[in-house]
Symmetry: C2
Subunit: 184 residues, 2 copies
């Protein structure tokens, strides 16, 4: 059997979802594909790049149709889509958030948010600050939520998992600030 890069990424997501990020090793993935570990380096230059590709694929799979007409409703829609996409896979939020911290992946959601804020009539500087703030909120909240959810299902009752209500409320707080800065 001969594989291509997309096969490797797809199988990596299966391993991630079934066994978790700490079990997603290059050796484990190679074994899952029936390959020697060294064979993976023909498809991917290193593990970090593979994780960035996984992050992008997870977000791509969560894509939905845009419905909202108003720019601020569209922001909420984009953020909710991001959250749902990450929650769909075990440790999905951690993978995406980490990749984003190091400037990898998640470039498309950033572009969409930037567009929405620009449509809202915000200045160039505020578009950038707002986009980054929204992404940090979404990634931070979802990573914490998923960690709490997984900790809860593994035993400890720990803390409240946050939930979609808390999530939207946080986004709305930020949107308030953005709305009040629309030039008119």
């Amino acid at each position: 059997m001969r594989y291509h890069r997309r096969d490797v990424v797809e199988r990596a997501i299966e391993v991630l979802d079934e066994y978790g990020l700490e079990s997603l090793t290059m050796r484990r993935l190679a074994a899952e594909l029936g390959l020697q570990p060294s064979a993976l380096y023909h498809h991917v230059p290193n593990k970090q790049t593979l994780l960035a590709a996984i992050a992008d694929e997870i977000l791509a799979r969560g894509k939905r149709e845009r419905r909202a007409a108003e720019w601020d409703r569209r922001v909420v829609e984009i953020c909710a889509e991001l959250r749902d996409a990450m929650l769909a896979y075990r440790d999905g939020a951690e993978v995406v958030a980490t990749a984003h911290t190091f400037g990898l992946g998640a470039s498309e959601p950033a572009t969409q948010l930037r567009e929405a804020l620009r449509d809202g009539g915000l200045d160039g500087d505020l578009v950038e600050v707002g986009t980054r703030a929204l992404l940090h909120l979404v990634f931070g909240h979802t990573a914490e939520e998923q960690a709490a959810l997984q900790a809860a299902s593994a035993g400890a009752i720990d803390r409240d998992p946050g939930g979609p209500g808390d999530f939207e409320q946080g986004i709305e707080l930020l949107l308030d600030g953005l709305r009040s800065r629309v030039r008119r």
Copy 2:
């Protein structure tokens, strides 16, 4: 020589600051202390706990006097203190942010923010949502800023590092939303 837990944490921070998070291994730290790796487990149950202790110590070392009288200026002050504390050590933001995602460390800053928001006259629910949103913004922004700074100093000109202006602007956006929700 006999060590205590605090010696181990202190030396770990030195190793972190000098060689970076990826070089902070239990074996490396043990060698630095002139110990066998197994000796560390007398002071700390595992690496995760050590990292949480490092996160707390980094934040504790950055503590400053509170000056602002108004609740919203106090929020800005707390957030700026957190950012400075994390930026003071190599990979400090990543260590603190990761610990926070898993519900470890950073409990004191959370308490201080909660107090400030309560003083501002916000409802219990909003206090929680606001505190979490502020922390995600601070951790997310600072981690990204530090990663970009370190990438820049290592060669690539990559992206803009954000800076304190962008940071405060993001916090102010959120504060706008919080201010508008003060019950009166």
